[in-house]
């Protein structure tokens, strides 16, 4: 379904899997550092070296992106070739002899690092990526102890911090173009591209417009792939510290499902270690007055979005209302919401009006919670720990103040939370576990799997199916495998049979759904919608980031598909071990609908607090 990559054929990665390995010539004999090997035809030198545990330094290469070959770090010596060759873009097609660390290679690589440093302004100790910087690591690897080709001593560019989410500091840029390929190929948003030529080349937005004014969706994928600190998130931790230290403020932290599955990586643990309990302890030790689980409001989202879907289905099937838009698209991902606002503003009616879990929680905290606990909502500061850069933009949207106050005051990314924990002198993995605070500490596994692509769909199906038929979904252990996995666009269906009387109009309906992640895939789905190919589908889940929230723009760096899979596994394991696994069975959800949202999901009160409206933004920049 995914259309061809934009990159020219010569830049696409060579894929050994697609080659017929049975015929003559399917394998090639090569000599790698004097060792004889048989390798599949067409496999790149870089991949062969990685297969054989030989480290090749790379900068512009990234697993998720197409080959660029412009940083020249991965140079190797291929016998018979006049020049050194880039390992990432050299497919082996003939018996060659390769040397990966000859004198010539080492010298060339050192010069390349030196040349990059000559235009790289800034010192490592005053940099957000200190100790997690690929350029710094290479400088160490090649023993750079002086700036052989000089070093810029004054900043040449202004830092662009106009955006709520992403800060661009072009002084740190090494022109590897990972962000360009991320933005254009991976996300199809197309904000960044290299402009000018030669020495004047720089990465720029359209006509050098500030990032806040261009069609950036704030997904932060460029941050995750930037080898240096040229792109980093807008850090609110100073303001949060200030709020914590102010005794009159009641500071509440809500933690999303994904950070707990990944924050361990910031403390040296391998990916896939869940840190839920330790994170709660750390947050309390830092000084947050309450620590709540965003999964609670994820459950709330499911109730609202599921009810909205059933409402739309009823209107479409029973009332034959032509103005009802189906399929319904999810609205949990702020990057995706901004994407559709920019690129498909005429299709906004398809989007669910439900707020994202973060914003729902903010609204609930400053109304229901404030009333219950007798705290003035003006004194409540809500901080959302999110795996996401776009959430920073979302909480600053002007319409997000239905409680009368700014629903969520600060969006904090996983990386920034890890920074705060380090600042507090805590070592996260060694902390004791503790649970969330009441009253929003209880959540279902359904809310937890929001963190992975397909999770919202799976959670919604668990609830919708049971609401309609009175029985749990007919899948083993409630695991809807069709929603899981890292395939770009997934589709499946569930047949609704023996419905309860209220939903008898759905009897025999095949509930068809689509799950897509990454806005490039979202674009494919939207183009299908425009062509009318989504007729008969009911529900579409879209997450702006590849892999869903676990691959979000605020997650620990680096990211790759294997890392994302491990994080997703951690989330699914935790869901499997949860006592409550369906949103509507969460006792706290029942409680809040009894006590506060008394007219039920999608009622008047919930419409005021838990639903939102969207802005038609369009693609043109003036």
């Amino acid at each position: 379904m995914k259309k061809e990559l934009r990159s020219p054929v010569s830049q696409r990665p060579f894929n050994a899997e697609n080659i017929n390995k049975t015929g003559i010539g399917a394998e090639v004999s090569i000599e790698l550092n004097g060792k004889k090997l048989r390798v599949p035809l067409g496999r790149s030198i870089l991949d062969i070296c990685r297969d054989n545990n030989i480290h090749i330094p790379t900068l512009c290469y990234h697993e998720d992106l197409c080959i660029a070959g412009n940083c020249r770090m991965c140079l190797v010596e291929v016998e018979g070739m006049k020049n050194l060759q880039t390992a990432c873009s050299y497919p082996v097609t003939s018996p060659v002899k390769i040397k990966t660390f000859s004198n010539k290679v080492r010298k060339a690589r050192k010069h390349i690092v030196d040349l990059m440093l000559s235009e790289h302004y800034g010192e490592c100790y005053s940099c957000v990526r200190n100790n997690n910087c690929e350029l710094q690591r290479l400088a160490r690897e090649y023993g750079i102890d002086s700036y052989e080709f000089g070093h810029v001593c004054e900043p040449r560019f202004e830092v662009d911090d106009s955006s709520h989410a992403v800060v661009r500091d072009m002084d740190k840029c090494i022109l590897c173009r990972r962000c360009v390929r991320t933005c254009i190929d991976l996300q199809e948003v197309g904000v960044l591209e290299a402009v000018n030529r030669g020495y004047d080349t720089k990465i720029s937005t359209f006509m050098d417009t500030p990032l806040n004014d261009v069609i950036c969706i704030n997904c932060g994928q460029c941050i995750n792939r930037c080898p240096t600190a040229a792109l980093h998130a807008n850090d609110p931790s100073d303001q949060i510290w200030k709020a914590i230290e102010d005794p009159s403020k009641h500071v509440i932290l809500q933690t999303a499902p994904s950070p707990r599955a990944s924050i361990g990586e910031e403390f040296g643990l391998p990916p896939g270690n869940s840190m839920t309990g330790q994170l709660n302890t750390a947050a309390r030790m830092i000084g947050f007055d309450r620590v709540f689980d965003t999964n609670f409001s994820a459950d709330l989202t499911i109730m609202e979005e599921g009810t909205e879907l059933l409402g739309r289905l009823k209107k479409a099937i029973v009332d034959k209302d032509k103005s009802v838009m189906l399929p319904q698209f999810t609205s949990c991902s702020p990057g995706w919401v901004k994407f559709i606002e920019h690129f498909y503003p005429e299709k906004l009616d398809y989007l669910s009006t439900a707020k994202s879990p973060q914003q729902m929680f903010g609204a609930v905290l400053k109304t229901f919670y404030a009333e219950e606990s007798g705290i003035d909502p003006a004194d409540i500061v809500t901080v959302a720990l999110m795996p996401c850069a776009a959430k920073k933009f979302e909480c600053n949207r002007p319409e997000m103040n239905s409680s009368g106050f700014k629903d969520v005051d600060y969006g904090l990314t996983t990386r920034e939370m890890a920074k705060m924990i380090r600042e507090a002198g805590l070592v996260l993995p060694e902390l004791p576990k503790s649970s969330f605070d009441d009253p929003f500490g209880e959540a279902s596994g359904a809310g937890l799997i929001f963190g992975s692509t397909g999770g919202v769909m799976e959670a919604a199906l668990r609830t919708v199916y049971e609401l309609v038929t009175g029985r749990p979904v007919p899948f083993k252990d409630l695991n809807i495998e069709a929603c899981r996995g890292m395939k770009g666009i997934k589709e499946a269906s569930v047949k609704l049979e023996n419905c309860i009387e209220e939903f008898s109009f759905l009897e025999g309906t095949d509930l068809k759904f689509i799950v897509a992640h990454g806005t490039a895939n979202a674009k494919v789905v939207m183009d299908m919608l425009i062509k009318g190919e989504l007729e008969g589908y009911h529900f579409v889940e879209i997450m702006a980031c590849p892999g869903g929230c676990i691959g979000g723009g605020g997650q620990p760096i680096p990211t790759s598909e294997s890392i994302r899979k491990l994080r997703a596994k951690a989330i699914y394991e935790e869901d499997g071990a949860s006592a409550v696994r369906k949103s509507h069975e969460n006792p706290k959800i029942k409680y809040i609908y009894e006590k506060y949202f008394t007219d039920g999901p999608c009622g008047k009160i919930s419409h005021k607090l838990l639903h939102t409206k969207y802005t038609k933004r369009g693609k043109f920049i003036n």
Binding site: R6, I184, V189, G190, V191, L192, E193, A194, V195, N196, R197, S204, T205, F206, M207, K619, F620, I621
Partner: protein, 157 residues
């Protein structure tokens, strides 16, 4: 830019889309045709062209900024380009440039306030054997000197 100007450009872009295959490979000829008609490729039209070709505005901007003969800002009615490559410089192109700068009070890359003249340095015309060389509105002048260059430029309308 007012709506009348925008409509003009929109009409011309849709004409171009019929003339060429509406695909990213047609970008350069489209930009050249557009510039020939309007003098430069403004912000609005860059976006228009990008969306027609299903690419991103920043990619169009990137192409324009890469090529020295494409402009995203208004230029004068006449464009004078003098080569500053090493061979031309040995043969006195710097003196000619300095004379132009002095005479018309503009720096390389600038346009005179009356919009008559834009003066630019370029890197090589490939005419080193007939250096110093100068290009005026697409026409090449070889073996120029200070006097002849100023005469040619002054005769421009």
């Amino acid at each position: 830019m007012n709506d009348i100007e925008k409509n003009k450009r929109r009409e011309f872009v849709s004409e171009l889309m019929n003339k060429y295959v509406p695909d990213r490979t047609s970008l350069l000829p489209i930009l050249q045709d557009f510039q020939e008609k309007f003098g430069y490729i403004d912000e609005y039209s860059q976006q228009l062209i990008a969306f027609e070709l299903d690419i991103h505005p920043v990619e169009v901007n990137s192409v324009i900024s890469f090529y020295a003969f494409l402009y995203d800002k208004p230029v004068g009615r006449n464009i004078v380009r003098i080569c500053k490559n090493i061979v031309c410089e040995f043969n006195g192109s710097k003196e000619i440039s300095d004379a132009v700068i002095k005479e018309f009070k503009i720096n390389p890359g600038e346009t005179t306030p009356d919009g008559k003249l834009t003066f630019e340095h370029v890197n090589c015309f490939g005419l080193c054997d007939k250096s110093p060389s100068m290009m005026v509105n697409g026409e090449i002048f070889e073996n120029i000197n200070k006097e002849s260059a100023l005469k040619i430029i002054k005769e421009l309308k």
